[in-house]
């Protein structure tokens, strides 16, 4: 159980300022991100101010082709880089003169920061812990409160902020998560989700089977190969109501890949019905077409259920242009709107943690250092969304 300290007093910005600043630390998987976000108070002139990204830097732990990232090594990577990234983020962040009221822009100082936000979960245990140690240390050193953030909520709130989508159905797809979410009564409720592995995980593992490089990311490389696919190979399609399952497709396509690359094998599976030899590009293409169709279907179901026609895609797999294209086709057909962010926000990052954390902080929510233990499982609907009204 995640515990928060909730004060009934809402914090005020420091020293009569009209803005808040938060630093956010993210490390739930192989991306280590640090971001600094500025949120202005509403004024008569700007009743709904847009948040300002002062800095958003990231270092990704990339493994050789054919290998996935293991918790222990990922944790080591984060430990090695987190202090450097925090330093760099402070050095690179500029506080605009417009905000500070000073004569010119100047670098951010520790005293400008209101709170230290960190990913409390869900994610991999050891990497999460590496990052929270740094968060606790600077919280104590700089005497700023901690705010634990749910990783999924970070993606959602960053997506809403960047795109301006008011109340969309959210498709959150990444290496670790696959959920269809809609907001209702101060919770982000999960409508549909994967029954086994996440979409990104399925793509990453297939990339390993094909020994595709992991730089910049395995999913990106599958997307490029898919563009050259010509033959559609039928794969199992496993939508179950509002949920989907991916382990069956992965097993099937892994097996198919092995048959195709095994030169000794004379399997009929190697060929299409028209006698052409199936290529890795064809497999990538077919895999994407199938699993993305599944994602679009469960999103459409959720839209019909909740009676909304806006869709927001967040999470690393949301960068995939084919997925965006397919979703757009469905949404436009329903006379709706689709929203997506670019890779600086789609892929795990620190700024989204700062954003969601600052929203919590302004509602009086902080995390006591004794309650700052990370957790691998942290459901999106466990978080009370105090900053939205119904």
């Amino acid at each position: 159980m995640i515990c928060y300290d909730i004060s009934d007093k809402f914090p005020a910005p420091q020293e009569g300022r009209n803005y808040f600043v938060a630093i956010g630390l993210e490390g739930s998987a192989n991306k280590l991100g640090v971001g600094i976000m500025l949120q202005q108070l509403p004024t008569k002139h700007t009743p709904v101010p847009r948040a300002q990204v002062l800095c958003n830097i990231r270092d990704t732990y990339i493994t050789p082709p054919g290998e996935g990232f293991l918790p222990r090594d990922t944790a080591r990577h984060h430990r090695n880089w987190v202090v450097r990234l925090i330093k760099r983020s402070l050095e690179e962040s500029v506080l605009p003169a417009k905000m500070s009221g000073e004569v010119e822009n100047r670098p951010i100082r520790v005293n400008d920061i209101d709170c230290i936000c960190f990913t409390q979960g869900p994610g991999m245990g050891a990497p999460l812990q590496s990052v929270v140690l740094a968060a606790r240390a600077i919280s104590l050193m700089w005497k700023k409160p901690l705010v634990g953030v749910n990783h999924c909520i970070g993606h959602i709130e960053m997506g809403r902020e960047i795109t301006g989508a008011l109340n969309p159905v959210v498709l959150y797809v990444s290496g670790g998560n696959t959920q269809v979410i809609a907001y209702s009564h101060q919770r982000y409720r999960i409508f549909g989700e994967t029954l086994d592995i996440a979409v990104g995980n399925c793509l990453d593992r297939f990339a390993r089977t094909l020994k595709i490089p992991n730089y910049p990311s395995p999913g990106y490389n599958i997307e490029q190969l898919a563009k050259n696919g010509k033959n559609f190979v039928e794969l199992p399609y496993t939508v179950k109501g509002m949920d989907l399952s991916m382990s069956g497709i992965l097993a099937y396509v892994d097996n198919l890949a092995n048959e195709i690359f095994n030169e000794k094998s004379n399997s009929k599976l190697k060929y299409t019905t028209t006698g052409q030899k199936i290529t890795p590009e064809d497999l990538c293409y077919s895999l994407q077409e199938t699993i993305f169709a599944m994602l679009v279907e469960i999103t459409e179901r959720a839209m019909a259920h909740v009676n909304t026609n806006q869709v927001l895609i967040v999470g690393g797999v949301g960068c995939n242009e084919r997925l965006q294209e397919m979703m757009k086709t469905m949404v436009v057909d329903r006379q709706g709107e689709i929203f997506a962010t670019d890779e600086s926000f789609c892929i795990d990052n620190g700024i989204m943690i700062a954003q969601a954390g600052l929203l919590s902080y302004r509602e009086g929510i902080t995390t006591n250092i004794k309650s700052s233990v990370c957790t691998q499982r942290f459901r999106t609907d466990e978080v009370f969304i105090k900053w939205r009204t119904n």
Partner: protein
């Protein structure tokens, strides 16, 4: 978008008048007074239902064709199985899997409606907690529970149980449909439930799947009929349990397992906890 799809449905059903009654994520549902292939309908026939699964342009055409065919056929097969088991549900009249067309009889008929509508109407017409309301609703809710139990006892799960997917209609005056049905009175206690929309249905012997079926219905009742949902849920579950227990010792063992799983599913709070 809808206009093009409706045009397509008309193209497949040349000269048959169609009236759109619902547009879901996956299919459009029409009624028609004309039978798809009989030259003249039986006397006093109700109208017919056409469920049309249109192509989805975002999907690869090979995948799309395969899904349309498979789902239409799967639903038709399930409905056929229900007919063999004598479980009240639409009967298949005609299937065209390639084009995603499924013709069924209209089980609601002119005097039937969804349980959702029925509950709303009764809540308006009767006083809360009155003996009158209970006398009209309780027995029918028990029957609905029993009908779902019958389905589950035959290892079939509905997949999308909401009060919009359960119809309720007056009991037929006689087996012979030529005898006119008496005028409808909202407080008619002699009703019978019929299940519709088996698009997400499947065969399953797992207690967990049956528990999820019930859980989905519970959540639907809570969100559509929040004021008295506890009472309705109790009546529905009672009817369900009683039907299982009528099946002797085997039934008693199986219901224990389903109820146990239901408890687990409720604790876990499956994703369907935000209907509405």
């Amino acid at each position: 978008m809808a206009e093009n799809i409706i045009k397509q449905a008309h193209a497949y059903t040349a000269n048959i008048p169609l009236a759109l009654i619902s547009q879901g994520a996956e299919a459009l549902v029409f009624t028609s007074p004309v039978h798809p292939y009989l030259p003249s309908p039986p006397t006093c026939a109700p109208d017919y239902i056409l469920k049309y699964r249109p192509p989805k342009p975002y999907r690869h055409p090979v995948l799309d064709a395969q899904l349309t065919k498979h789902r239409t056929l799967s639903e038709a097969r399930l409905l056929h199985k229900l007919a063999l088991l004598d479980i009240p549900a639409p009967r298949v009249i005609h299937v065209n899997p390639k084009h995603g067309l499924l013709w069924m009889n209209n089980v609601a008929g002119p005097h039937g409606f969804s349980v959702k509508q029925w509950v709303w109407d009764i809540e308006l017409a009767t006083a809360p907690n009155s003996a009158l309301r209970e006398s009209v609703m309780k027995a029918n809710m028990l029957q609905i529970g029993a009908l779902i139990a019958k389905l589950h006892l035959n290892d079939i799960v509905h997949g999308d149980l909401t009060t919009s997917n359960i119809m309720i209609r007056p009991k037929m005056a006689a087996a012979d449909a030529s005898v006119p049905v008496p005028p409808h009175n909202i407080l008619n206690p002699n009703l019978e439930p019929v299940l519709i929309d088996f698009g997400l249905g499947s065969h399953s012997a797992l207690a967990e799947d049956k528990a999820v079926d019930i859980y989905v219905l519970e959540r639907a009742v809570e969100s559509t009929h929040p004021v008295n949902s506890e009472t309705y849920k109790t009546w529905l579950l009672d009817g369900y349990v009683q039907e299982y227990e009528r099946g002797g010792k085997g039934g008693k063992i199986r219901i224990k397992e389903v109820l146990r799983k239901l408890d687990e599913v409720r604790q876990r709070g499956r994703k369907r906890s935000m209907v509405g």
